[in-house]
């Protein structure tokens, strides 16, 4: 029931949003929607942690993984909504955008949320596919939001590449239905029945299907070499949208891959899917880390860092065991921190109105709080204690050291390279003398609170995990 309430709240905002004539109303309703979403998803998460799975009707199905993903969407979603209210106001003040664009923004934003929640909770694989495709559709215009040629280009690449990928994923999804042909199931086929029937899959077909799924949804997850759309889209979208894209959307897509991984493992054994995951993870980390070293644009930098972190997560699931557990944790931390980083990057962009790293100097004097947040986020995302990503990285590597020592060693050094490159850019941004044209003025508190909240949450989670979260995590590790 909560689920319907939650989803409807977004749709309610989204659809009539077109009719509303007043900005404040739109902002208010979307804020309320995201607050509701947060509350509801916590309720659902508690339910799931206590009951197991939660399926109010045949159409929805929330297991532990879904619950975790929902929590991520909701937490980041609230922060992003709060942030984007102020962000858009600032931009309207600078009259970069007008009212219609603001309205369009919020409508699409809420559609995006709805699509992501649907994708996380839909029962049928095909519906999941449809809604993930729907996220692509909802965000296409958000990426081309500023209507500059470069953002159109980004949007086009995003659309085309993702659709190609997703159609491959669709094909893979369909292949899993071959398991049903013996019994010829009719009507809507849910995840659970598929998993139940997975034993009837022909192992080779399962392998092929998984390859299609991995490469297809992997495009959405941003695994190299299918990652090419990601830096463009993330750097051209408005900062809050980039935060959602790399903080949340990637995880939603990856959760789907995991669901398919289970079926494949049932017939093809763990080794196959794990090796694939390890290979793609290592490639992603390699490419991302090397490109980060010579990056010139801080939003693209963050985007590549997302690719690297997705690679780490995938690697963790490839290693399995403790690795999977900590990969999930890594997913949570990364979602929170990366969106915080993108939000503070948005503030930096508002101040300097440039995304070139070379243009940003003396952040510490220009934006004291935001720069501190940015620095903290950087330390956190590159795995500096006391932030939890350090732990997850060590755990992932430790479980990798048991099975693939060489891989673990290589990845260790790639991570070091990421740190060096990232750190190089961050120091050049934070320190130094600030350019004279940038005037030092008070920071908008509402632009600071959301990233601060996210980082604080991540910090809290890296010191202590709530009980229901640990149960969810263990549940996921048990299943996937």
């Amino acid at each position: 029931m909560e689920l319907l309430f939650l989803l409807s709240s977004f749709l309610v905002v989204a659809l009539p949003g077109l009719l509303i004539r007043h900005v404040g109303v739109i902002e208010f309703v979307s804020l309320t929607a995201s607050v509701i979403a947060l509350v509801e998803s916590f309720v659902i998460a508690f339910k799931v942690s206590s009951v197991g799975t939660y399926a109010p009707m045949s159409f929805f199905f929330v297991d532990a993984l879904g619950a975790i993903v929902m929590l991520i969407i909701a937490c980041v979603g609230l922060a992003v909504t709060i942030y984007s209210v102020r962000y858009l106001r600032q931009e309207t003040l600078k009259d970069i955008i007008g009212f219609t664009r603001v309205r369009q923004y919020f409508v699409l934003l809420n559609l995006f949320f709805a699509a992501m929640f649907f994708a996380a909770t839909a029962n049928s694989p095909v519906f999941t596919w449809i809604f993930i495709e729907a996220t692509t559709l909802a965000t296409a215009f958000l990426i081309s939001f500023y209507n500059k040629s470069s953002s159109i280009e980004a949007a086009w690449k995003y659309l085309i590449i993702n659709s190609v990928g997703l159609f491959l994923g669709f094909f893979g999804t369909l292949l899993y239905f071959t398991s049903l042909s013996p019994i010829g199931a009719e009507g809507l086929v849910g995840w659970r029945s598929l998993v139940a029937n997975a034993i009837y899959l022909d192992p080779l077909v399962a392998k092929i299907a998984f390859i299609f799924v991995l490469i297809g949804y992997g495009t959405k997850v941003g695994l190299a070499p299918m990652h090419t759309w990601l830096p463009d889209a993330h750097s051209k979208a408005p900062a809050p949208i980039s935060a959602l894209l790399s903080g949340v959307l990637l995880n939603v897509a990856f959760a789907t891959v995991l669901r398919f991984k289970v079926m494949t493992d049932l017939v093809a054994g763990h080794a196959f899917s794990q090796n694939l995951l390890i290979i793609f993870g290592v490639i992603s980390i390699l490419i991302a880390s090397l490109i980060i070293l010579v990056q010139k644009n801080y939003k693209r930098l963050l985007a590549y860092s997302s690719i690297e972190n997705m690679g780490i997560i995938v690697l963790g699931f490839g290693f399995g065991g403790l690795g999977a557990m900590s990969a999930l944790l890594h997913m949570i931390y990364h979602a929170l921190l990366k969106s915080a980083l993108f939000l503070s990057a948005g503030t930096i962009f508002l101040k300097y109105s440039s995304t070139k790293i070379a243009r940003i100097k003396g952040l510490l004097t220009a934006l004291p709080v935001t720069s501190v947040l940015f620095f903290a986020g950087f330390f956190a995302i590159t795995g500096m204690p006391p932030f939890g990503i350090f732990l997850t990285k060590v755990f992932i590597l430790s479980s990798g050291m048991k099975t693939h020592p060489m891989v673990a060693g290589v990845v260790m050094f790639l991570m070091a390279i990421v740190f060096i490159g990232f750190f190089n850019h961050v120091t050049s941004m934070v320190f130094g003398k600030k350019p004279s044209e940038v005037k030092k003025c008070e920071e908008d508190i509402w632009l600071v609170i959301p990233p601060f909240g996210l980082i604080a949450l991540a910090l809290f989670l890296s010191f202590h995990l709530p009980l229901f979260l640990t149960t969810l995590l263990n549940d996921v590790v048990a299943h996937y």
């Binding site: 095909v126 449809i130 086009w156 190609v164 239905f177 042909s181 092929i208």
Partner: protein, 208 residues
């Protein structure tokens, strides 16, 4: 028979120079798909299939080509932009891809339903070809068509592999594809506005 049409249309849109030709080929192709669905309606007699067939007919055979035609007329771009490979090379690679699709390698896929193994491998090669179309063509329209035909061939594969989905799924997919198509055309309009052509290779700002 109908699947051959799908296949041939894709090959045609590979080699044609005219955008209209490509669009026409696509509508033929979609028509064939619709016929296939209608055919299975005749076999099973499920009214939902009839509905879907008509939906496909409406969306893919009429509206999509119509919009594309509008786009083409608006910017009077009769001739589609160049490809990477010239026609002979394209044909050679097409042949290669077809061979790949028919190779023993893909036996596990194509022998899902042993009865129509040939059809399945044909659908598979159609998929690969439309994939190749997206890679090979530089025009935005050709890429749109490529993706649409990729979807068509997947649907065809699904049908012949006996993986047809429930009614709601079908509707969802078709509407999804339709919305996708609308957005893509809108973006194509914007591209033309900003870049003065529908040549996707003109978009090279976002590097590194």
């Amino acid at each position: 028979m109908l699947l051959e049409i799908v296949f041939l249309t894709i090959v045609f849109s590979h080699i044609t120079r005219k955008n209209f030709g490509a669009v026409l080929a696509y509508s033929m192709q979609s028509l064939a798909i619709a016929m296939v669905i209608f055919n299975s309606f005749l076999l099973t007699g499920a009214t939902s299939l009839l509905f879907i067939a008509s939906l496909v007919l409406l969306v893919k055979v009429i509206m999509v080509p119509f919009f594309l035609a509008r786009l083409i007329q608006r910017h009077e771009i009769k001739f589609s932009v160049s490809t990477y490979l010239n026609v002979p090379l394209t044909l050679i690679s097409i042949a290669g891809l077809v061979a790949v699709a028919h190779s023993r390698k893909f036996a596990p896929l194509t022998s899902i339903v042993p009865a129509n193994q040939l059809l399945l491998s044909l659908a598979l090669s159609a998929m690969l070809l439309s994939f190749f179309l997206i890679i090979n063509r530089k025009g935005a329209i050709s890429q749109i068509i490529g993706i649409l035909s990729l979807e068509n061939s997947i649907v065809a594969f699904a049908i012949f592999a006996g993986l047809e989905q429930s009614f709601s799924l079908q509707v969802g997919i078709v509407s999804d594809v339709f919305i996708w198509f609308i957005i893509a055309t809108a973006l194509a309009f914007m591209i033309y506005k900003h870049f003065g052509s529908l040549e996707v290779t003109s978009m090279k700002q976002l590097k590194d």
